[in-house]
């Protein structure tokens, strides 16, 4: 009988600066599928005044040797200017935004509002029987908020995936 081997995996956050050209996202996403790498989340938006450069934040996991390969393979793409492995580079902040819809009346509705307050989530839409909360924070914080809301009438969750940045004055 043949078994498939597993290796110890790490979670890494990478930022990738790319030329904002057609097909670049397909190229990067395709690189991950073609080489069997994992994408846990991927966010992208252009960040320069003339819209010429986009910044992509990718969260991935895999064995350390694979993370190193991902870094090298990304750098090899012609439209890629710079790849930073924030997890390697040092202390950084990670933030994610979520919209969470909760429906309910009576006790549960009051409790949902109370928990939202504790988490500093903002009610961005309110009806007599529902809320849409906006919550920004670390992925873990959003996870735990969503877990609680599950008990209090969770209807729908939308998350952006994280953006991340080095702490301190320097550019990564």
């Amino acid at each position: 009988m043949m078994q498939i081997k597993q290796e110890v995996e790490e979670r890494h956050v990478l930022t990738v600066m790319v030329d904002n050209e057609a097909g670049i996202l397909a190229k990067i996403a395709g690189l991950f599928t073609a080489r069997g790498y994992n994408i846990d989340s991927l966010t992208v938006a252009d960040i320069t005044e003339n819209h010429s450069v986009s910044r992509i934040t990718i969260v991935t996991h895999g064995p350390p040797s694979q993370i190193d390969q991902i870094h090298a393979q990304l750098e090899r793409l012609v439209p890629v200017h710079k790849v930073v492995d924030l997890t390697e580079a040092g202390p950084h902040v990670q933030r994610e935004l979520a919209l969470i819809k909760v429906a309910g009346v009576g006790e549960k509705r009051v409790e949902a509002l109370r928990v939202a307050d504790v988490f500093r989530a903002k009610a961005v839409d309110t009806t007599t029987s529902s809320f849409v909360f906006e919550l920004t924070g670390s992925p873990e914080k959003i996870d735990s908020f969503v877990a609680i809301m599950r008990e209090l009438g969770l209807v729908e969750v939308g998350r952006t995936g994280i953006v991340a940045m080095m702490r301190g004055a320097e550019e990564a």
Binding site: A26, D68, E75
Partner: protein, 580 residues
Amino acid sequence: MSDERSGANILVESLVRQGVEFVFGYPGGAVLPIYDALFGDERLRHILVRHEAGAAHAAEGYARSTGKPGVVLVTSGPGATNAITGIADAYMDSIPLVVISGQVATNLIGSDGFQEADTVGISRHCTKHNYLVKDPADLAAVIDEAFQIATTGRPGPVLIDIPKNVQVATATWSDAPIQRRDRYVPRLRADTNEIAEAIEMIASARAPVLYTGGGVINSGPHATALLRELQAKTGAPVTSTLMGLGAFPADHADWLGMLGMHGTYEANLAMNQADLIVCVGARFDDRVTGRLDAFAPNSKKIHIDIDRASINKIVPVDLPLVGDCGEILSQLLEAWGTRAPQDLSGWKTRIDTWRERNSLAYPGNTAAIMPQHAVERLFELTKAKDPIIATEVGQHQMWAAQYFHFFGPNKWLTSGGLGTMGYGLPAAIGAQLGNPDSLVIDIAGDASIQMNIQEMGTASQYRLPVKVFILNNEWMGMVRQWQELTYESRYSNSYSSSLPDFVTLAEAYGWKGIRIENEGQLDAGIEEMMAYQGPVIVDCRVAKESNCFPMIPSGAAHTEMILYGDAVAGTLDDAAKALV
């Protein structure tokens, strides 16, 4: 000077400006404006192939044998998809190609228009870079960058997809040189302290091996010369991958032969027992390493490669030197200075005991020509002409690698990474165009040759005297061998049934056909082939069930080679079967 021109004209001018001699192509609706711009233009020679895969392989053969980029022109849809195999082949073997494909007009893209295919999407992962050009004003700069990307750094294919309306619409063409974007700047040289560390490691090694690959050839003939110089200074024995053959002369006392799955015993044992491996432009392919946890277990490793992603991809190394092989070899030589070589006599004595196994020996045969012998004779009788050898894929390819010997770069054209049957004939055609005075021979198999046999017409049309030497064993021999060794000789669909009569086929295309049926006809047949001015097919009937040895079975270590005469179980466990 600047004036208004059509996109098609800008393309042609740009190709001329790049110094392109040949365009390998096939017309169709979506490239008619380009074909019209080519009409009557004497500056570019268009070579009309018979299938777009043939165009891509011919461009590869031209590139590999001349060191210049190959240029391909195909129409949209089926033209582009037909070319994909050749593009993927060039990608795996780092061959510089610029492929121009036609596309439906920009307003039709995405509408499932006639002969529309998402060529940029399909080719994304088998090109180094690709473009969809939506404005003729961008064409000149895109073509300029495409040639830069294809030919610098780790070479590879670049595709430019040009919608038909962009070929027709006009833009300003200027003779002034293009302002490059400078976004692609490969690293060429290693740091001085890295070089110093490498020299330290090489100077203190007692059992070093230079493990060289296609990167040395890609770096150019100067890299080959520098490799020989470094070898002379250090005394280290040299082995090479399939792609690197010719970088080091096969008649040198320190040449170990090819390594890997069908490499020599001495090359694989030397890799296994080395205390230092200096990898120069090779990539630790699975065909080379065998079982990874048993690969060169006691050695330190230096890896020279222009592609940082090749480093630590498969085998972790102690010292990566990222840069161009030629540049880094010259840095190493400079840093080596006037040091005396180490005394490696103990190491060489051990290597000599492995050489004594004579791993390329094969049994005699009175009833039929042994294919190995046919290659040996072909080598002996043609070597004075320093021929260019192309191959197809299979046993004959490995026999060519083992028994034909190479003394210089750019003489050996084979599909290594992708292993594409049908590569050899078009590659030989491209090589013959680039080297009109050379003897170009495709060492072929009976099955592979049928995969791009239509290109015989191309050779006839352009009067190219290519020679196709078929080692006809009436089998997909390599498949049959694996079935014999791992599936208890259950020969599922590997017999070459209904083979054509290659001699009359040759004649049908205006070629000469020669059949060699026994040993007595072998030398005369080869001489006759060489004496004929035009293209020739030689149908050389060889022993049908010969196997290609030595062989490291998949999943085995370098020390577990099978040689002729060894007993083979004929089965494999599932884990080994799962490996290709």
